[in-house]
Symmetry: C2
Subunit: 315 residues, 2 copies
């Protein structure tokens, strides 16, 4: 059994330093932390969770609750989940997964995803440190972490305008969720800023619906139109409808949103707004751990980035 | 705080019966179990895990280890993970997720996915009840649960033959993994059984590679050919290459494999071999729990089913 002493020997530091890195990483320099963490890895040391819990009165367990219906789950979750697991594992925490809103009594904190507005009342009543994945109404005072959805569609809209598409339309979703409103808002604001006329359509978040919409409106859609899509899934249907006439990116430009999996399987490859899942995972975890240490409530929006591919003109 | 007595009152049974349902569900009738479980749900009772652990010397924690690179993770995992979480939650177990092969000392058992042959040596050395997701070489004596891959491609091949496609080819994957070999084998065996000439191609598991392959061989591909694809992702590329000429399903029939997410977003909709993830989750969990109770090693292959859609002729 590898112990603290082995790590200390490997890192050429005292056992107390190793203990400090494990239990109070914020109190040591980056240099020492890296050195000790490398040694921990090298000798294969596993901090004893129960011993840690006794020292810190923590269990080192974070629960991730997915309230979304499994049937509707998108690949986004797999990525976010595994990123969170990796971040927590590195910090000596364990990640538990649950599909029901009943936090186990031994968890130190919750990350809640796939919630609806109707869940927020119940969530605010739970007396455990918590961070939501996804932008929540501010009156609940629940800290959340999300991608900056408004900035994302703003980047998409600006890109299409700069690429010279004369008209720019938006295809959004028929769902009354904050991120849906935010994504639409980012388009509307950017159009207004450029003194351009907005035009929005709504579909369900299915590629076949988006495909049908384009087939229905294509006769009234002038050439040289840019299409901002609320999701890659919608963009996939749009691309499919337009590709039959090989009109991408010359006559029509298409930008999606999410940048997970679907953007890899469209043809032509999709220009999209990429959600930074690694950064989202890091921020969700550090937000929660901050709460554990200082009871700090903080809400953060992470900047997405535009990935230019073949569904829009090069600028 | 809701307790055992509340559940007993709600179910009109004794507290001992409730305790038996929670701790030894196998010893009570289905009827009593359902009754008590409904009462547990109705009053919102949470069995005290620590109390349970003391009685049974179990921690009621199962760890799911994903050894696959996060970047290559497919939507399949999100589904399987959440299904397993749900099954375990219902049984009073907690699911932990980890991306590294270091089982926590407090877990009762491991479900390991995304492993490679080179991991099996290390896995066999771990002295914790374990079940692998994915067919493993039998000489390691590690129990696994998988979909019956061979049966899947056999169903696909038979369907194309019965739909009257004269020639049936197979597009497999350039990966030396058991499930890859099994899927190819299912095609080869079925062709031999029907005294038909086999023809296999290999691509990487990316739709763009499959698309390119079809574009390269289409000149030599006679009309009335059926194409068995090792994955939906490959099938997606095949469909895209063939759709340009609107030749599906009249001249070419295409069958995929997996039935998660991608099959929903292709056009035309994909005939595919659907992996029964709910059943896989249930079997992985019950296999592991059987080991906990009787040290039984058991390997199971779950039957997939053919879902007929628009990429093959109706028979």
């Amino acid at each position: 059994m590898v112990n603290l002493a082995d790590v200390a020997r490997q890192a050429h530091v005292s056992q107390m330093t190793v203990s400090r890195v494990i239990n109070h990483p914020n109190l040591v320099s980056d240099e020492v932390r890296d050195l000790v963490n490398q040694a921990i890895k090298a000798v294969g040391y596993q901090p004893n969770r129960i011993a840690k819990a006794l020292v810190n009165q923590q269990n080192y367990v974070i629960q991730f609750i997915v309230l979304e219906d499994i049937a509707t789950v998108e690949p986004n979750y797999a990525i976010l989940l595994l990123e969170i697991a990796e971040v927590l594992n590195q910090k000596g925490y364990t990640l538990e997964i649950s599909t029901i809103l009943e936090p186990n009594s031994h968890v130190d904190g919750l990350i809640v995803s796939g919630w609806r507005d109707s869940d927020l009342e119940r969530l605010s009543a739970i007396n455990v440190p918590m961070v939501l994945y996804g932008q929540a109404p501010t009156w609940y005072d629940l800290p959340y972490v999300d991608v900056n959805n408004r900035m994302g569609t703003s980047l998409a809209t600006t890109h299409l305008i700069e690429a010279g598409y004369k008209k720019v339309i938006y295809i959004g979703m028929t769902m009354a969720l904050p991120f849906v409103r935010e994504r639409e808002q980012g388009y509307l604001e950017t159009m207004a800023k450029h003194h351009l006329v907005s035009r929005t359509y709504d579909v369900s978040n299915h590629s076949h619906d988006a495909e049908k919409l384009i087939q229905n409106i294509i006769a009234h859609l002038p050439k040289n139109t840019g299409i901002v899509c609320a999701t890659d899934r919608i963009a996939l249907g749009v691309v499919r409808a337009l590709k039959a006439q090989s009109q991408i990116p010359e006559n029509y430009g298409v930008v999606g949103f999410d940048g997970v999996f679907i953007d890899q399987i469209t043809s032509p490859k999709l220009t999209t707004i990429k959600q930074p899942f690694r950064q989202l995972a890091n921020t969700l975890v550090s937000n929660l751990l901050n709460q554990l240490h200082h009871s700090e409530l903080k809400t953060e929006l992470i900047q997405p980035r535009l990935v230019k591919r073949d569904s829009t003109r090069q600028v």
